[in-house]
């Protein structure tokens, strides 16, 4: 699906991550965030990397795993009302290329952050916790599962 042209998706959320240039845009966005943080005078490089990682994962958690439904009115009588964006992605089919991309990208960011923080224990714990918060909800076993009823309705 290309953004800005006519499409026939009932729920555009299902295929928006397959749009042309969306991965590049995403990578550029993360890079931009990193550069902006780097330009702040008092932050050391390890702090900036941890911040990039944590902010990225927070954003990913909110937009892919917390917010449910669609920002637009869909003609399916609210079928996606109880599904997160991650669950709507590719009609819920697992292991598609965009799912793989968005699973791998926080891991790569985590590796980079770990490397640049020189495996400092504090940074390491923060980064690992942050990574798990976006990796665990992506597991196929947790598709549509709301642990302890969190975010159920």
């Amino acid at each position: 699906m290309n953004v800005g042209v006519a499409h026939s998706e009932v729920n555009p959320n299902t295929r928006i991550m397959n749009s042309r240039g969306i991965w590049l845009t995403y990578a550029l966005g993360v890079g931009m965030l990193h550069i902006v943080l780097l330009s702040i005078p008092f932050f050391s490089v390890p702090v900036v990397w941890t911040l990039t990682n944590v902010i990225h994962n927070l954003g990913m958690y909110v937009f892919l795993h917390a917010v449910k439904g669609t920002p637009f009115e869909t003609p399916d009588q609210g079928k996606a009302r109880l599904l997160t964006h991650w669950e709507q992605l590719d009609y819920g089919v697992q292991f598609t290329s965009s799912r793989k991309f968005f699973t791998i990208s926080p891991i790569i960011l985590y590796f980079l952050a770990s490397f640049y923080t020189k495996y400092d224990p504090t940074h390491f714990i923060i980064n690992t916790a942050s990574l798990l918060s976006v990796l665990i909800p992506k597991l196929p076993q947790l598709h549509g599962v709301r642990i302890f009823g969190i975010n159920k309705y």
């Binding site: 009115e73 009588q77 609210g78 079928k79 009302r81 009823g149 309705y153």
Partner: protein, 437 residues
């Protein structure tokens, strides 16, 4: 291409033609309509010719029309006709585009404004097809996971709207407010157990002003009380009551003196009293405006032909000019209702001021087929004596669920009481109808 190959091709084509001829020879066509058994004869359709008014030509025979929704006689009104013709000359038949896509004419906007003014609401929205009005309005608001409480005698278009909404549907017994309150209380306890779910669930009550399936009026004041007590929204279907009930014909809200702002949405058909085509919804602006992008029937149907909108405006003019027509209609309804009382074997079902009511067998013969035959016989007899009434197969959901209240078949009389000419349906006609039954 070598000549040998060409020869093979020619042979193949010849063989194909021969095979085709053979297949055509062999083919025995099946009848388009399979043979039917004598017990289930194919339905007999009545053919209506010419314009319909208080007289109707059915199968080449002129009858008195007791089978019309044209309650105010505006269908063959000269003023309405002239207005429609003038509009036709001015606009043609319309653009065939939806309202949001080159389909809106000034008459549409005028009609919406006039309807809102007539009903004394903030805004109105018009649909191109009466049936689709409520059937689009319900799914525009009620989505998956929402709860709709609906009277079990609700009409077919409401049922279709509910199906399309994909909501959870709870039926309450016809006009039984205790039963509705029981369901609302059940929901209340469920809500207390699960308040997080309750917060995202919308609730609606869907009722008809005047039930087409029973001829009853809904107890609106009680419904409004329940609405505020249990925080539900009321969607009111007024297809039959608009232009019929109330001093000014504003429908069931005026009939009970209920503030129209207490009703969240009113939907009505313009094909009955208003004698045009299409339907409208009216209510608060923020409620109605939602339909301009979410009402599927509004967004995706071609707009109402402008001449029909112009006809509806003229019909509204007549309704506003002369409120006597509503009083006359009520009087005639009462008259016909009382005149038909006491026919042995038949029961008049419905409110006395309802212009549509049912004649129902007092005692079922025990089998649906026999009932249908008997009622059909009465209709045929009426038709022989120049009276056209019509037949209705009950659509009350309950009649499929509970055998105790099986009331399967009715004759429906839509009392067509034209207000402008008293001579049209006279007392004699009613006497005649009664005599024949």
């Amino acid at each position: 291409m070598a000549s040998g190959q060409q020869w093979v091709l020619v042979e193949m084509v010849q063989a194909f033609y021969e095979e085709k001829e053979e297949l055509i020879e062999d083919w025995q066509p099946e009848p388009l309509v399979p043979l039917v058994s004598k017990d289930h004869p194919p339905p007999k359709y009545d053919v209506v010719s010419g314009p319909t008014s208080h007289k109707i030509i059915v199968n080449g025979k002129e009858c008195i029309n007791f089978a019309s929704f044209n309650f105010l006689g505006l269908l063959d009104n000269e003023r309405v006709k002239n207005q429609a013709l003038t509009s036709l000359r001015k606009y043609g038949v319309g653009t065939c585009g939806p309202r949001g896509f080159y389909g809106t004419f000034d008459v549409h906007l005028e009609l919406e404004e006039r309807l809102a003014k007539f009903m004394r609401t903030e805004e109105a929205i018009i649909y191109s097809y009466g049936f689709a009005t409520i059937a689009s309005a319900i799914p525009a608001y009620s989505k998956r996971g929402d709860i709709v409480f609906v009277d079990e005698a609700a009409c077919f278009s409401i049922q279709k709207g509910l199906q399309a909404s994909r909501s959870n549907i709870k039926y309450f017994k016809h006009n039984d407010m205790d039963d509705l309150e029981r369901l609302l209380k059940e929901l209340e306890t469920e809500d207390q157990e699960n308040p997080r779910k309750a917060r995202v669930t919308r609730r609606f009550i869907v009722v008809e002003g005047l039930y087409i399936n029973t001829g009853d009026i809904c107890p609106l004041p009680e419904l409004v009380q329940l609405k505020y007590k249990y925080k539900v929204r009321i969607l009111l279907e007024e297809s039959l009551s608009f232009g019929v009930l109330g001093e000014h014909g504003r429908g069931v809200t005026e009939h009970f003196g209920v503030n129209i702002d207490d009703i969240d949405l009113i939907s009505a058909n313009m094909e009955n009293s208003l004698a045009s085509i299409g339907g409208f919804c009216c209510g608060r602006s923020f409620v109605i405006d939602h339909q301009r992008l979410s009402g599927q029937g509004y967004c995706f149907s071609a707009s109402l032909p402008p001449m029909l909108a112009a006809a509806a405006i003229e019909a509204l003019n007549i309704m506003e000019e002369d409120i006597d027509i509503f009083r006359l209609l009520r009087d005639k309804c009462k008259h016909i209702h009382s005149a038909l009382q006491g026919i042995s074997g038949l029961e008049v079902v419905g409110e006395s001021i309802s212009p549509a009511f049912h004649l129902q067998l007092e005692k079922s013969t025990g089998s649906r087929e026999l009932d249908v035959k008997l009622l059909r016989g009465i209709i045929d007899y009426g038709e022989k004596n120049d009276i056209k009434i019509t037949f209705s197969v009950a659509t009350i959901p309950a009649s499929y669920c509970f055998s105790s209240c099986v009331t399967p078949d009715y004759i429906v009389i839509y009392a067509q009481t034209t207000a402008h000419s008293l001579a049209q349906i006279s007392i004699d006609d009613i006497q005649m109808l009664r005599m024949h039954i």
